[in-house]
């Protein structure tokens, strides 16, 4: 996999995560082993309107471009502050605000990664379907429930490539 483009549809994602558990290529619903992560708070405090594309850096130094298909801005929220969802309290979030014209979040990694994913939640309370698209071709969907429990139960949706062990999983 030369580059991995993670394409998240729905409204909100938490930190994007690189995962490193060997498996056949496909979607994953839990970050079995996290070796890297993105802290969205680097894009600003809650309420910051993030003009896309924006550049963030993972904990291990991988540079990631965050964008929206329409080129629209994103919005920073924090769980249990302005965001009343089911992430863990204090989690820094990135919101695909529909009123700003945002429809999705696309992550493009400067250094190829084996897999990536994120916790995700729809804005309205109730059931929803999340979808991740990799390199614009492969997709995986997952059902979730949005609520205001603030307990970290927001579903994880990700993609893991078919690559052995953890040697080059970033």
């Amino acid at each position: 996999m030369k580059t991995v483009k993670t394409y998240l549809i729905l409204t909100t994602s938490a930190a994007a995560l690189a995962v490193a558990t060997p498996a056949s290529a496909g979607g994953v619903t839990s970050p079995v082993s996290v070796i890297d992560s993105i802290d969205w708070s680097q894009l600003g405090t809650e309420g910051t309107i993030v003009n896309a594309p924006a550049t963030v850096t993972t904990a291990l130094g991988n540079v990631v471009t965050v964008s929206d298909t329409a080129g629209a801005p994103l919005l920073r929220y924090d769980q249990s502050s302005a965001w009343s969802g089911n992430f863990a309290p204090g989690t820094a979030l990135l919101y695909t605000a529909p009123f700003l014209g945002t429809s999705d979040i696309t992550l493009t990694f400067a250094t190829p990664v084996l897999g990536a994913g994120a916790q995700i939640q729809a804005n309205y309370n109730g059931p929803f379907t999340a979808q991740i698209t990799v390199n614009g071709t492969q997709t995986f969907t997952e059902s979730g429930v949005s609520n205001a429990n603030a307990d970290g139960s927001a579903i994880f949706i990700g993609w893991l490539g078919a690559r052995s062990r953890r040697s080059s999983s970033r």
Binding site: T12, E46, D78, S84, Y124
Partner: protein, 555 residues
């Protein structure tokens, strides 16, 4: 000699001692530079859009200008402010609360004689700029037949000119206003005033349910139009409509008494929520044929006293210089409780002066040439409540009296506190006014009674006292020009109508910023009547107040 020195010192100490434990600083001071007229991004059409249009116009002394400039495009479709940041007009009657570092606001969008809708928006800069998230419960999608007609007498319906403003039975801009959001027992609802003739201030509030959402309160699930038709049955065929029939999803509250606006809500144990609301009886002090007042609230102080026409000295910012007649509406601040958000039980009204605990004084009618004659509060019509750390509640309010002759109460922004700590709903029934008309937080243009004794209203400089606060340039509002009345009328500092709130100022929405700062979002008009300056009306603004540390409880 030494003993005298010691004695003097002792006296000084005694003088200071009683003040210990009592704040010596002013309750409110203005945060310099915090007053701004708000801008809005996206959302519906605005009066002014850079590179597109400047709507403006006057009705007096003669009709001129284009008050609906740019409202529709060449294809006959209503335009929007999408992709633009414009002066936030024509919006008013905000309802604002804070979630984290983001403000959520609900506004009454109301182009004169054309539309009224509820618009939701967020602000990430404490109300200086609002980003519209959604719009609902409007009146129509019609285009004015003549954008230069300030009364919008006709609109285009199915490519044909139809009567609109010309028929008082049509909606014009009388839709669903005064939005308020409340969540009870896990159900979130929006409450609106039904402004239709024969319904306003007599019907219960209109209720719609809004799904709870993690990131904000959006109106996208509500009907775009609050009424199936804005056209009345009295219209000629084929323009007969069903106005004011409400959309079929609309519910109604029960138990509120002539409600006009909800000021705030307080949660109590047992799932009981108390709302503080404005009750308005239209023409309540107008006598019937027998000289009786059948609609007066039971606690109204008798004998009834009505205003005279607006005093001439107060006409400084009314372009027509035409005095308004006496307004006979009666307002009261009342309290009601609910456990389900729909059915309310009214528990009483805040007393009228001279009774203790009063907010308003219906006996204040004013008389020119009498000192402080117009200093009382006759009508209180809007505002918001805030919790104090000592258990009391504060009320930021908009109010007025016979200086304006309007029961909407838009002369100044004041402040009151409950007389007791609030442990039950009845504690919300008695208040003490701390900032009134003569020592306001903020005021419309100063007016001066030049008769002896000379009296200025307000008597004291407001906490927020600035001039020239207006984002619009004179050229943007042509053909309107400020009035230049002859002596003895006194021109206020900064000139007439130099602020976007010179003519009206109301509905302060207080938001806790930090333990020393409140943000106030409010509504203002450049002139008292939109028809005086159709290029500068229904504006949103914000300012901030420094308050004693930890005086207010986070909310």
């Amino acid at each position: 000699m030494n003993s005298k020195i010691f004695g003097a010192s002792a006296i000084a100490i005694l003088a200071v001692t009683p003040a210990l434990g009592v704040t010596t600083q002013p309750l409110f001071t203005f945060v310099a530079g915090s007053l701004t007229e708000s801008n809005v991004t996206n959302g519906p059409w605005t009066l002014h859009r850079t590179g597109s249009h400047d709507a403006s116009g006057i009705k007096v002394p003669s009709v001129a200008g284009t008050p609906y400039a740019g409202y529709c495009n060449g294809q006959g479709k209503v335009t929007t402010n999408q992709g633009s940041t414009s002066v936030m007009q024509p919006y008013y009657f905000p309802f604002v609360f804070r979630k984290g570092q983001i403000l959520e606001g609900f506004f009454d969008y109301r182009p004169r004689n054309e539309q009224e809708a509820t618009v939701a928006a967020i602000s990430t800069d404490w109300g200086a700029t609002w980003i519209v998230t959604s719009q609902a419960l409007g009146l129509n999608n019609y285009c004015p037949a003549n954008p230069q007609d300030p009364d919008n007498n006709s609109v285009i319906v199915n490519n044909t000119t139809a009567p609109y403003g010309s028929n008082a039975d049509n909606a014009a801009d009388n839709g669903l206003g005064h939005a308020f959001i409340l969540t009870v027992a896990g159900v979130q609802r929006i409450y609106n005033l039904n402004r239709a003739t024969n319904h306003i201030d007599s019907d219960q509030l209109v209720v719609h349910t809004i799904p709870l959402a993690a990131g904000g309160t959006f109106l996208t699930t509500l009907p775009a139009l609050g009424y199936p038709s804005p056209l009345a049955p009295t219209n000629p065929a084929p323009f007969k409509g069903t106005y004011p029939l409400l959309d079929p999803t609309a519910q109604a509250t029960t138990g509120l008494l002539t409600p006009d606006a909800i000021l705030g809500a307080v949660n109590f144990p047992g799932g009981v929520i108390a709302v503080v609301y404005v009750s308005k009886v239209l023409n309540g002090t107008a006598a019937d044929a027998n000289g009786n007042y059948p609609n007066l609230p039971p606690n109204y102080p008798l004998p009834v006293k009505n205003c005279k026409k607006t005093p001439s000295f107060a006409l400084t910012n009314i372009v027509s210089a035409s005095a308004k007649g006496a307004n006979t509406d009666v307002t009261a601040v009342r309290v009601a409780t609910t456990t389900d958000g729909v059915n309310f039980t009214d528990i009483g009204a805040v007393p009228y002066a001279p009774n203790a605990g009063a907010l308003t004084d219906p006996n204040t009618v004013g008389a020119a040439g009498v000192a402080d004659s117009f200093s009382g509060i006759r009508w209180l019509g809007s505002g918001s409540i805030v919790p104090l750390t000592n258990g009391k509640y504060g009320l930021f309010f908009g109010a007025g009296n016979c200086l304006d002759n309007d029961s909407d109460g838009f002369h100044f922004i004041g402040y009151a506190e409950t007389t007791n700590a609030v442990s039950g709903p009845s504690d919300l029934l008695t208040w003490k006014v701390i900032k009134g008309l003569d020592n306001p937080i903020m005021s419309t243009d100063t007016v001066t009674d030049t008769q002896s004794p000379y009296s200025q209203y307000p008597a004291q400089t407001p906490v927020v006292s600035l001039t020239g606060v207006n984002l619009l340039t004179p050229s943007q509002v042509l053909p309107w020009t400020p009035p230049t009345p002859a002596a003895p009328i006194v021109i206020p500092p900064g000139g007439y109508t130099s602020n976007f709130y010179s003519g009206r100022l109301y509905d302060p929405q207080a938001v806790y910023k930090d333990n020393q700062t409140l943000t106030i979002v409010f509504a203002g008009y450049n002139t008292p009547q939109p028809s005086n300056n159709l290029g500068d009306y229904r504006s949103i603004g914000r300012f901030q107040l420094t308050v004693p540390t930890n005086y207010f409880k986070p909310f």
